[in-house]
Amino acid sequence: MTEPRALSLHVPTPPARPGGRPDFSHVGIPRAGEARRPPVDVGAHEIHDLAYSVIRVLNRDGEAVGPWAPELDGEALKQGLRAMMRTRAFDARMMLAQRAGKTSFYMQCLGEEAIACAFQTALRPGDMNFPTYRQPGLLIAQDHPLVEMMDEIFSNARDPLRGRQMPVLYSVKKAGFFSVSGNLGTQYVQAVGWAMASAISGDTKVAAGWIGEGSTAESDFHAALVFASVFRPPVVLNVVNNQYAISSFQGVAGGENATFAARAHGYGIPSLRVDGNDYLAVHAAACWAVERARRNLGSTLIEFVTYRAGPHSSSDDPSRYRPKQESEAWPLGDPIERLKRHLVVLGAWSEERHAQAQAEIEEEVLAAQREAERHGTLQNGPHAPAASMFEDVFQEMPWHLREQRAQMEENR
């Protein structure tokens, strides 16, 4: 062998930085309707191509086309639109509330509303989501009371989590919404365990795991896929690829070399790659995967391709690391605009009705905020009693926590 040359490290760099020109040419986007729709009992190996395509239903003209176009009536579509609009209005309000000092922190899902809102409609009562912080739509699509969510965000006296968690880390068992962890990825393998339990128990319930594309690098992602591969439990494993993990573009998570849907191939798990800004495509893919799970055919991984249109959180300023206009250049458009257009094309909706709905929703959200503020805010309280912080460490409070509670009270 000839004398080798000096090696060098490949460090991924995004196509554009602040001041640069947004470039999404690497996101190959097929036309709506193009991707084939296999039967749910297809073998994982037979649909590898779908991990390199994008399942899309809504075309540029707002029509639902191709084999994935679901049978949703106008009512269901309007409900979907409303869920997304409410989610967005809720987020906008809470971002303002955070800036006004009413809470410490906020995370919105701007631009990603279709994913959670449409996915939820594929589930049944009793099924369980294991969400990240970016799926409030799972709750809002079920008409879970906004006030209760705000109570959590404000850590006020009615906060169901008693002021213990940071904003948006909800837990709503009765809505099939697992306690959100501040630690990335951990809940993904728990979703697999929950689904295994359903199978062990001869139950019919299905679990859904959620993770961001950045967090697929975490260990729990691999553990989840290994256990899902081996035990074939009824779980849908969702990856939300919103192109960013805080400041890091998806290349830092490995996106330069393969899609996140393709991660499933090495485990023999079927996977789909879906337009995450297309309410109909999300709904159709979710139904397909949930049906597989329900029919004991095992797990499915779905990559939802979307774009985080807002900052990572209220603490973040994306203009430091990506072009300001990047969001507008995102080729998959805005999920609300796209569904609205579809409804208009169907003749079931109009600009006027939309504007009216928007006004009603803003009013609803504002009213909810007023009510939640009456229950208190982080800044001004009231909160759950301070002594309650010693509860729920264990089911029964042991002596040392009782002792510490007394010490705390003495020093207030």
Binding site: R164, S179, G193, M196, F227, F394
Partner: protein, 338 residues
């Protein structure tokens, strides 16, 4: 009453729990068909079927992670980590998830589960088959930590742990799986059958968590010990003639502070034992508590006899292990003090 080894007693607990409660599922590396590398789960797959007792992939993250999901669903998972030394890859799931779930969801979700793991040295397992990581659990609020020293307690504590509504770490000192061991590695090994605490009921009973036992009553000095070290303490007391009161703590969190206080109040002296490395070991917590609460009763400093602050060395196992000579020395030192 039947006499059992630790292995048999733990198996009996699992068997009984699986029999009584269909929610109990048992899994881990090699625990299914093979019955575990220490044979603890032998026969359970055959009896209860592969979906209640099965082998897992080699992923401690996965084992603990799926256990949490199962517990949140409503099952009672009992997971085995093949050696306590291998729990670290699953540590995040234990600390950030199992321990926190009830708290962060204000009781909406809980994780009633048991994670069993053989611990401790004395089998020439070197640094990766000998560790005693209990302090890494006791520092984590939301976890209970249990460690039995004999078959009777092992079964009763394990049943209590499985029935507990919170996650419990169940440490099994592997050196005493098949017979008690007092640290005299050069003497013939003794079978459990000769030990009174090997008498283990066949049926269901629990040893409640949070309660210490008096392994030896005495007046001169209180020894706080658990697991294998209880037997070493007994040997040291006998050999030195020091009239030690030996408390077998059994549960480290929640600690039986009342039993500790009562004994030290009586004796005025205290020695704390463990096999784990010394710095920031659980002995530090015990010493800190005893002097905080009983300072004016103490006639001598609380001494610790522990493993050294080195990895467990393969060839020098017996210079590492805190055997009866080192414990005896501490007993005499604390008696001679002031």
């Amino acid at each position: 009453m039947p006499r059992m080894t630790m292995v048999e007693a733990i198996r009996s607990a699992l068997d009984g729990a699986m029999e009584r409660d269909a929610r109990v599922v048992v899994f881990g590396e090699d625990v299914g068909y093979f019955g575990g590398v220490f044979r603890v789960t032998d026969g359970l797959q055959k009896k209860y079927g592969a979906s209640r007792c099965f082998d897992t992939p080699i992923s401690e993250t996965g084992i603990v992670g799926v256990a949490i999901g199962m517990a949140a669903y409503g099952l009672r998972p009992v997971a085995e980590i093949q050696f306590a030394d291998y729990m670290y890859p699953g540590y995040d799931q234990l600390v950030s998830e199992a321990a926190r779930l009830r708290y962060r969801s204000a009781g909406d979700f809980t994780a009633p589960m048991v994670v069993r793991m053989p611990c401790g040295g004395g089998i020439f397992g070197g640094q990766t088959h000998s560790q005693s990581p209990e302090a890494l659990f006791t520092h984590v609020c939301g976890l209970k930590t249990v460690i039995p020293s004999n078959p009777h307690d092992a079964k009763g504590l394990l049943l209590a742990a499985i029935e507990d509504e919170d996650p419990v770490i169940f440490l099994e000192p592997k050196r005493i799986y098949n017979g008690p061991f007092n640290g005299h590695h050069d003497r013939p090994s003794v079978p459990w059958a000769q030990h009174p605490r090997s008498e283990t009921p066949e049926g269901h009973y629990t040893v409640p968590l949070g309660h210490a036992a008096v392994a030896r009553a005495g007046e001169a000095v209180t020894v706080l010990a658990y697991g294998t070290m209880v037997h070493v303490a007994e040997a040291a007391a006998e050999e030195t003639g020091v009239d030690a009161e030996i408390l077998d703590l059994r549960t480290l969190v929640p600690l039986d502070i009342a039993a500790i206080e009562a004994s030290v109040r009586k004796t005025g002296r205290c020695v704390v034992l463990h096999e784990a490395t010394r710095t920031s070991g659980f002995g530090a917590e015990l010493a800190a508590q005893v002097q905080e609460r009983l300072f004016y009763h103490l006639e001598a400093p609380v001494l610790r006899v522990t493993g050294w602050d080195t990895p467990y060395p393969h060839a020098h196992e017996w210079d590492y292990f805190p055997g009866p000579a080192r414990v005896g020395r501490a007993l005499r030192d604390v008696m001679e003090a002031a």
